[in-house]
Symmetry: C2
Subunit: 185 residues, 2 copies
């Protein structure tokens, strides 16, 4: 739906990477009739999954993140493949990154990870009844450590900064409101 | 600290916008001795602030977001200016975007908004005792509506998707763990 103040005019591609295309969008700001450019990171949508085992452990992943040049503890996730539904992507990423399979998968409402400069939608999925099949399927440039932690410890891990990825924290919060069994104390 | 698998080699700037610089970082992945490039959005750090009035209303902002081309309900925030501390940026953004001042400001632990491709740190601040001074100070291209909502309604707004900005949701969660008075039910 057009916005009454911001009239979209045109786009100009700046760079095209595999996971990210950078462009500038030109707008007319109608209150002052001024034109302005805004940089947009045009990204494929991605999914993150909260995998919970029958004994209420969360299956986390620890990996190097090239944006911040740090090793982070997160939940599994990744970019959706062309034509893939969020629940399919969640099951695939869970299997590839951790070697776990789930008995049920449920996609919650959408989130926006960085809406001022990124157009991506982030889907949050909850995978319950998870159990290990024992084998990760990693890309040639992936190196992922699987870490099991009790669901009950998640709030303390957020409070201490051990979990500091904003999307991961939002995922746990959303899951708690959507699934009573996942509500954090 | 160097990572045992990922040896950073070099960077190449792709594009420089005011708020965002795009570069490619080259790494040597030591387990296979393969080199690979990773795109990084090099962004100034930013701060988001949860402003609460004496009668437990949250001061929210509604504005057009050019990344997703939608009007979103969020908390105030913005990029830190050079040399500015997060608490200073929080007070400034609160004043500029909403016309509110606060009696106390407290910065919580850092979050990472999008660590796989963005190097930014997101600081979360809690501003208490907020009251309106009545006048926003907006940039020529800003148009921001101030919206007051009871703190007690935030969980329902997250569950319904009315608040869908992952960083905003993470901010409320972190604030609830850090400040008992802000814990969401």
């Amino acid at each position: 739906m057009p916005h009454r103040s911001w009239k979209y005019l045109s786009s100009r591609e700046i760079a095209d990477f595999r996971v990210l295309r950078i462009r500038q969008d030109r707008y007319l700001f109608q209150p002052t009739q001024k034109e302005a450019d805004f940089v947009v990171c045009d990204s494929t949508d991605w999914v993150m999954v909260i995998p919970v085992t029958i004994d209420r452990q969360v299956v986390l992943v620890r990996q190097y993140r090239h944006g911040v040049r740090e090793v982070l503890l997160e939940i599994p996730g990744g970019l959706l493949e062309p034509g893939e539904l969020p629940e399919q992507g969640a099951v695939r990423e869970l299997r590839e990154e951790t070697g776990y399979e789930c008995q049920s998968i449920r996609v919650l409402s959408r989130l926006l990870p960085n809406p001022s400069t990124n157009n991506a939608t982030l889907y949050i999925a909850v995978a319950e009844g998870c159990r290990t099949m024992g084998v990760q399927t990693l890309d040639a440039l992936e190196q992922i450590e699987v870490v099991l932690r009790p669901l009950a410890e998640i709030p303390a891990m957020i409070a201490s900064g051990e979990l500091c990825h904003a999307q991961v924290i939002a995922a746990f919060t959303l899951a708690g409101y959507a699934c009573k069994s996942l509500l954090l104390e």
